[in-house]
């Protein structure tokens, strides 16, 4: 297992021949509150070579749990949310899969990461052996409402994972505009 810093990448398939199924796990802690709490939602966006989502159906999250091609699937066991990727099934036109975590924009408040601590993304094999982990730096993203945790991307015939840790202050509307999706 290795820990990544923002911007760093790890070769997944090049270093692990035969690796085709990945588990992308997300975790965080929310400072407890008696009132409404921030609710984080992982979202996978299957992008083309221009960084745009192939379509609105190429999003995977808790209410759209499988991509149209079956390559990316959401899984929620309540304690930990994860997105599974079958690299062998990812269509050739998908150049990268971006993993975003947003704070649900409920109108009753707490729409940013100010109460979120210890957030991370980890990439593991199907049998849950951790390959890489990225602990998202806290502090600088407290006023953001969406964070790009990382991305899986093609590199020649291989797949790599890059840690991102970039925030949006424009919420899901900013994400929708950047990736060309309707939200």
């Amino acid at each position: 297992m290795s820990a990544l810093i923002p911007g760093a990448n790890a070769a997944l398939t090049a270093e692990n021949p035969g690796l085709t199924e990945l588990l992308i796990g997300f975790g965080w802690e929310i400072i407890p509150s008696r009132g409404p709490q921030a609710e984080l939602v992982p979202l996978a966006i299957l992008c083309d070579a221009h960084g745009k989502s192939l379509s609105n159906d190429h999003l995977v999250f808790f209410n759209q749990i499988v991509s149209q091609d079956g390559s990316v699937a959401f899984h929620d066991d309540r304690d930990a949310e994860e997105i599974d990727v079958d690299l062998a099934r990812v269509p050739a036109e998908v150049a990268k899969i971006v993993f975003v975590v947003y704070v649900d924009p409920d109108i009753r408040g707490v729409g940013d990461f100010s109460s979120v601590r210890s957030s991370y993304v980890r990439v593991a094999t199907r049998d849950n052996r951790e390959l890489v982990r990225f602990d998202v730096p806290a502090g600088e993203h407290r006023s953001d409402d969406v964070l790009m945790f990382g991305e899986l991307y093609r590199h020649r015939d291989d797949w790599k994972f890059r840690a991102l840790g970039q925030g949006y202050s424009t919420g899901l509307r900013g994400v929708a505009a950047d990736f060309g999706i309707d939200l």
Binding site: S2, L4, A10, A11, L12, T13, A14, E15, N16, P17, G18, L19, T20, E21, S33, G35, P36, Q37, A38, E39, V41, N56, L59, F61, F62, N63, Q64, I65, V66, S67, Q68, D69, G70, V72, A73, F74, D84, D86, A88, R89, V90, A92, D104, P105, D106, I107, R108, T125, R126, D127, N128, R129, L131, V132, D157, W159, K160, L172, D182, L183
Partner: protein, 259 residues
């Protein structure tokens, strides 16, 4: 064998609309080929799958089937689910962009998976909100704060359906916990609905004898909004009974005192 000469039952809609199962397509062939690690590759995080394997985790997660039925012989993998997805979709319905007013002319619209799950569904003009969650726990609340039945609180400390000032709010982050809901207006004003992207729709105002209530039904991952006419003079209890809502008795549970 006797020939069945009875006329076609055009009154039985579900038989005419039945979708025949389509053959499951072949799974995609792997696009990634294995090759030997190259010594010229740049140094990376140093990963290896060679060591001993831990206990295998369960097979690829099985997403819930939209209709609860599957004709696939094997376990439902994501790919299999994706393959049956077109057949399991509900019948076409207008979108929120197609309808300005829910009423006699356009009684129903359906939100897509994203509209059904992001942020809040805000209903203005409601006097009473009734919910039934996926476990059939049922309750109601009025705009004045009077509650009946059993409340449903989500993990984010927000009610699944409740009032925020004068507006009724459905917590869409937990849309999968919702079974159905009913919003009842009072007075001359119709109901207004707004979703995250700013799209809105209203219900028809009705007339002296009838008003339109808003019936929200979750079909798998999609919310369907319906305007249903009811007698304007009917009490909330009568309307709830008409829609088959039975409020769940609320049992308050408390921690046992330590001695």
């Amino acid at each position: 064998m006797a020939l069945n000469t009875s006329p076609v039952r055009s009154d039985v809609g579900f038989l005419r609309r039945r979708v025949k199962p389509a053959p499951t397509p072949e799974p995609a062939t792997p696009a990634v080929t294995e090759d030997e690690p190259s010594a010229t590759r740049p140094p990376t995080a140093g990963l290896s799958l060679a060591p001993a394997r831990t206990a295998p985790r369960p097979a690829t997660p099985t997403p819930p089937s939209a209709s609860g039925l599957s004709l696939s012989p094997g376990p439902a993998t994501p790919a299999a689910t994706a393959a049956v997805r077109p057949e399991s979709r509900p019948f076409p319905a207008p979108t929120i962009d197609d309808v300005r007013e829910l009423g006699e002319t356009d009684p129903v619209l359906r939100l897509n998976a994203r509209e059904s799950a992001v942020g809040s569904l805000i209903v203005s003009g409601a006097a009473t909100a009734v919910w039934e969650d996926a476990d059939r726990v049922t309750g109601s609340i009025t705009a004045g704060g009077e509650t009946a039945g059993t409340p449903v609180l989500t993990r984010g400390n927000r009610p699944l359906l409740g009032f925020d000032e004068a507006d009724a709010i459905v917590t869409l982050r937990h849309v999968r916990e919702l079974g159905r809901a009913l919003l009842i207006p009072r007075g001359a004003h119709p109901l207004g609905v707004q979703i995250f992207d700013g799209s809105t729709v209203t219900t028809a105002p009705g007339d002296d004898s009838r008003m339109f209530v808003l019936y929200i039904l979750r079909i798998d991952n999609l919310l369907e909004l319906r305007a249903e006419p009811v007698d304007r003079t009917a009490s909330d209890a009568t309307i709830l009974a008409q829609f088959g809502f039975t409020l769940t008795p609320y049992v308050s549970t408390r921690e046992t005192r330590s001695r």
